[in-house]
Assembly symmetry: C2
Homo-oligomer: 235 residues x 2
DNA sequence: TCCAAACCTCTACAGTGTAGACATCAGGCG
DNA sequence: CGCCTGATGTCTACACTGTAGAGGTTTGGA
């Protein structure tokens, strides 16, 4: 009898493996959103019984964590042959690119770690941290200083990505109409500034905005460092 | 016959109202996390049939949105009689305070807006935006410039809060043990910097870190503005 | 007293995560 | 060859979820 293949291809003839499962999960999330990722549907996509998934992941939460890790693995790493500031810039744009490619996963990236203490997180999640620390320390920062810079930088970076994803939903065409309509609903008395900003809100350029933010941050850092190291060099 | 009151007090003798429902939902989330907020459990807490909730909110998603809005309403607003930079500082600390008071709600604050375009968001969510725009514009920024500053500022702010919540889970006692254990698990070869930073990671002071970040950001902004306005004043 | 609206409950359905027992299959060993 | 063993996948079942639809109950006004 032919195998029932009406819904979802069998991922391959051989046995499943963790990676295949996670890739299927990621596809599902990319295409239909986080809520569409149910164990049953995942099984369907893989062409197996839903319970088969449990051979490779402990539970749904672990699937989600795995999806997040998979996305982080897409981050390209650069050789550190440039100035640390350029390095940070490139890493920022790279993270932004990956996030824009998987917008539905971003909530996982952002709030997933909230439930697991830093020490217990999978190595993949911690790699960017280690990398940035390395860049900064090689650039002459003290470990403690590097940690501070990392926090400010990554904080800003994730914040920007969230911001950008908020402002830019779906396709821009209907976005424009929606925005104008939405803004008009707001009382002119309570939201005068916001209402007048419709044009600026529409021509949002995420990459440039990110770059500008980083420039501001780095400029501030330079200033900050001058103060701190001036004191240190006096000793 | 006595009313069955074994689980959850009736919120009051009279009929329910939207506010009571949302407050109960917020309590539930604060105490038992986002996942504990089911319509059935909410009904139980309110001492009514689960379906009673649907009289006041369309569905579960709306309950969650309502909870987020409720939390944002806790934000105290300050009179704008100080320098704009001080104003921003105060708003940042205020948001941080509220978020630390309701850590379980933060994922909602951060990812909730992702699903609704800016124009369609409830007024409560947009109020901080409007307020900051007002402060900046009164301080002499162009509307467009104010928007940029707002984005950098709020991006950094939310990023910081997420960072802080990640590093600081539950009580610090067991946190220390967990952190050390977790870090030792990492290979010394792949994570040399991270492993050496255990002490610094432990003495994290969120408020100070936030303040420092803002200082860096504002310093950078000052620099940035000098460049931009210098050109503008030349005209 | 009667009505109408507001409020609440009951029942039911389709969907969820996952524990536990079972079936199927591969390969190694006698 | 037969037989065992472990890996892999399936089946069933349970407790739970959101919520549609129909009905009951309470309340205030005429």
């Amino acid at each position: 009898m032919e195998r029932d293949d009406t819904a979802g291809h069998r991922a391959g003839p051989g046995p499943l493996n963790r990676r295949t499962v996670l890739r299927a999960a990621l596809d599902l999330v990319d295409e239909h959103g986080l809520e569409a990722l149910s164990m049953r549907r995942l099984g369907q996509v893989l062409g197996r019984d839903p319970m088969a998934v449990y051979r490779y992941t402990a539970n749904r939460k672990e699937v989600l964590a795995g999806v997040a890790e998979l996305v982080l693995e897409e981050l390209e790493t650069f050789p550190d042959d440039v100035h640390w500031q350029g390095q940070l810039r490139r890493m920022a744009h790279e993270l932004r690119r990956v996030c824009l490619r998987h917008p539905n996963v971003v909530p996982l990236l952002v709030t997933g770690p909230l439930s697991t203490p830093l020490g217990l997180r999978p190595a993949g999640t911690l790699r960017p941290l280690e990398q940035i620390l390395g860049i900064l320390i090689r650039a002459g920062f003290s470990p403690r200083g590097a940690l501070h810079v990392y926090r400010a930088f990554y904080g800003f970076l994730y914040g920007h990505i969230l911001n950008e994803l908020q402002e830019l939903i779906a396709d821009p065409h209907e976005n424009e109409a929606l925005l104008r309509l939405g803004l008009q609903r707001l009382s002119l008395r309570d939201f005068p500034h916001l209402r007048s900003l419709a044009p600026e809100l529409l021509e949002y350029d995420g990459a440039q905005e990110l770059d500008e933010g980083i420039s501001i941050l780095l400029a501030g850092l330079g200033q900050h460092l001058k103060d701190t190291t001036a004191a240190a060099e006096g000793a």
